[in-house]
């Protein structure tokens, strides 16, 4: 029986039995949605839900035990006008970002350049250099770091060989942040791998043409390698900056969750954590989180806007 005869000549009973558009769509797509279900539950229940809730909570006073009280923009006003710790944590985080990201990228690029020279055992070195990135953000490494930079730690043991009595780097506000910056730079593996992949993409004959043009290694690096690597630099810079703004574990472990000495390691996320889970000021902590998001968003938008002036895409 053709479709035509079905539609025109079939009794009403048969037509009623034929599936409606919606049920046909459901029949066609149900297995797909079923497979998607775990992700959908996670996305709406664990991501979108908390995001929307935290935005609402940022306008409330909420201690987890009683229901939230609407306070309007008070949390934001207080943050910018009456909270020196907010500014202290912002200062620490910005210093951390400004120093750790360029240093890490420079170090990663330097090692990638070394590894790109076609040395033997490259896969082994690549894995070894990548290892800190896997371990770096862990609690264990943060504890190890604490031992290395303690008064009787490895660094001071080494300095004592030269007769130098080093301070306790971690408990000295002058140096404590720098130990965390060094820890961040040490985790250069991830951007290094990406730099290495980028370097491999630069055609060898560019360098050959440049060497015939009389360009030495340094000029080749400045005039060929760096410009052709700018898309990778841009990508790494964005990712690493966002990571740096979000950095939490090392500061938490090394300072014992206090951000001390004298708030010198009070990272923004650490302060946020203290407000939320130390003082149960969930409303204020949510406002802090939204300010961080806005800050990272503005930085990323600014980076993309300026990228057309310094990022060179081949095609």
């Amino acid at each position: 029986m053709t479709a035509r005869s079905l539609e025109s000549g079939a009794p009403a009973r048969e037509r009623a039995a034929s599936p409606s558009l919606w049920s046909r769509i459901w029949q066609n797509h149900a297995p797909g949605y079923l497979f998607l279900l775990p992700w959908l539950i996670g996305f709406f229940g664990l991501t979108i839900g908390p995001i929307v809730t935290s935005f609402y909570l940022s306008f409330t006073d909420f201690d987890l035990l009683t229901s939230p009280d609407w306070v309007g923009a008070n949390n934001y006003v207080r943050m910018f006008t009456a909270d020196p710790k907010f500014w202290a944590s912002m200062r620490v985080t910005v210093i951390f970002v400004i120093f750790s990201v360029p240093l890490k990228l420079a170090f990663a690029l330097a090692v990638a350049l070394l590894l790109n020279r076609g040395m033997r055992g490259l896969p082994l070195y690549r894995a070894l250099f990548y290892l800190p990135s896997l371990l770096g953000a862990s609690v264990a490494i943060a504890i190890l770091w604490r031992q290395i930079f303690a008064r009787d730690g490895l660094v001071n043991d080494f300095l004592s060989v030269f007769g130098i009595a080093g301070p306790s780097w971690i408990s000295n506000p002058q140096y404590s942040l720098w130990t965390i910056i060094i820890l961040a730079v040490w985790q250069f593996g991830s951007p290094m791998i990406i730099f290495l992949a980028g370097l491999r993409q630069i055609p060898q004959d560019m360098y050959e043409a440049a060497s015939l043009d009389g360009a030495g290694k340094w000029r080749q690096f400045i005039k060929i390698t760096l410009p052709l690597l700018t898309p990778v630099v841009f990508f790494n810079a964005i990712i690493q900056t966002i990571e740096a703004f979000k950095s939490f574990t090392p500061a938490f472990i090394i300072s014992g969750g206090t951000g001390n000495p004298i708030n010198s390691t009070l990272f923004y996320t650490l302060y946020l954590y203290q407000e939320a889970f130390g003082f149960f000021r969930m409303g204020y902590a949510s406002a802090l989180a939204w300010v961080l998001l806005a800050l990272v968003g503005m930085f990323t938008a600014f980076s993309f806007l300026t990228s057309k002036y310094w990022v060179h895409y081949d095609e």
Binding site: P203, M206, E208, A209, A210, S211, L212, D213, G214, P227
Partner: protein, 350 residues
């Protein structure tokens, strides 16, 4: 004044593996030399050794009487055009052309004047502010050549520069490079695997195989007097026919037909006959063989006949003009005896 190049027992080895074997070659001042050969014959490696991009493992490279083995690439007075063009994608055409001069810290006015001259020669003035990605293949090729011209080198090297272009543009650029050579008068070395490019452009063709020069000489010399089967087969299009020959005391026979050659053919194992030298008209030469016509291609200006001898050896024939040749018929092929090439069992010309 143009520059001479001598290669003396030049060797290139990667570890224990030697890829260029004791090459001896003289390139005269102002000569357009083409290195030609199949893939892997070592032509590009040899060019890169001359450029200074590959270290020389043995022998001497002499440019204008001076040994250049250890002189850095930039100080050999050489400019090279790469197969991939190797244009810097982040620089515009002007910056690409000026890069070498800026590196040499030439005065700005001089850079501008030399870039302008090269752009005028190659007619790329309107493209100077464009990035390479905004150019067509042919335009990129011109810029790559322009980058070489700007440096005013003593020697130009071209590494298969036309292989990325379509057929029409290849012919056009081939003519332009030949004109450029006439205008500038520099010594040029050009690498290609295309024997038509070699024949049309070269003053001297160097045929390479497996890191050895098989024969070097003027294009027509190689065409008329190939030294061996390899050169005979490589030079000329369509390819030379090779027929197994049987030599006896008085002469040779091919596919059962005794050839009346006016010269000694002792030791002949293979007879070579170029498709364009074979005819189907009696009286135009001696009889080569009776052949069965398998396929006929009418190209308008030429008729190409694909045939086989009685003992199954393929014979290709190129006839001038439009000729009626019946498919499946047996015809007699003739050849001018002066155009017959004879090779011994080792493949060397007799």
């Amino acid at each position: 004044m143009a520059t001479s190049i001598q290669l003396r027992q030049l060797v290139k080895a990667y570890g224990d593996m030697e890829v260029i074997h004791n090459i001896d070659l003289d390139i005269d001042p102002g000569e357009f030399t083409v290195f030609v050969g199949p893939s892997g014959c070592g032509k590009s490696t040899l060019l890169r050794m001359i450029a200074g991009l590959e270290p020389i493992s043995g022998g001497d490279l002499v440019i204008d009487g001076q040994r250049m083995n250890d002189v850095p690439a930039a100080r050999r007075g050489i400019a090279m055009v790469f197969q991939s063009y190797a244009l810097y994608p982040h620089m515009n055409v002007y910056q690409n052309l000026a890069f070498g001069l800026e590196t040499a810290k030439a005065p700005k006015a001089e850079i501008q004047q030399r870039v302008q001259r090269a752009a005028d020669i190659l007619q790329i003035v309107p493209l100077l502010q464009r990035k390479p990605k905004q150019l067509s293949g042919g335009q990129r090729q011109r810029v790559a050549i322009g980058r070489a011209i700007v440096r005013e080198p003593k020697i130009f090297l071209f590494d298969e520069p036309l292989s990325n272009l379509d057929a029409e543009l290849r012919v056009q650029m081939r003519v332009e490079i030949a004109k450029l050579h006439n205008d500038l008068g520099n010594t040029m070395i050009y690498v290609t695997h295309d024997q038509v490019e070699a024949m049309t452009m070269a003053d001297k063709i160097v045929v390479l195989r497996l890191g050895v020069i098989e024969q070097a000489g003027a294009p027509l010399e190689l065409y008329n007097n190939p030294k061996n089967l390899f050169v005979a087969g490589f030079i000329g299009s369509p390819k030379m026919n090779f027929l197994t020959a049987t030599a006896d005391g008085s002469g040779i026979s091919v596919a059962g037909n005794a050839l009346a050659l006016p010269r000694s053919a002792a030791g002949t194992a293979t007879l070579g006959a170029r498709p364009e030298h074979i005819t189907l008209q009696p009286g135009t030469g001696i009889k080569l063989a009776d052949v069965r016509v398998d396929l006929v291609e009418n190209l308008g200006g030429q008729t190409v006949v694909y045939a086989t001898t009685a003992n199954g050896q393929p014979v290709n024939i190129v006839l001038e003009g439009q000729r009626p040749v019946e498919l499946g018929s047996t015809v007699t092929a003739y050849i001018d005896p002066a155009r017959v090439h004879l090779f011994n069992a080792d493949g060397n010309a007799l």
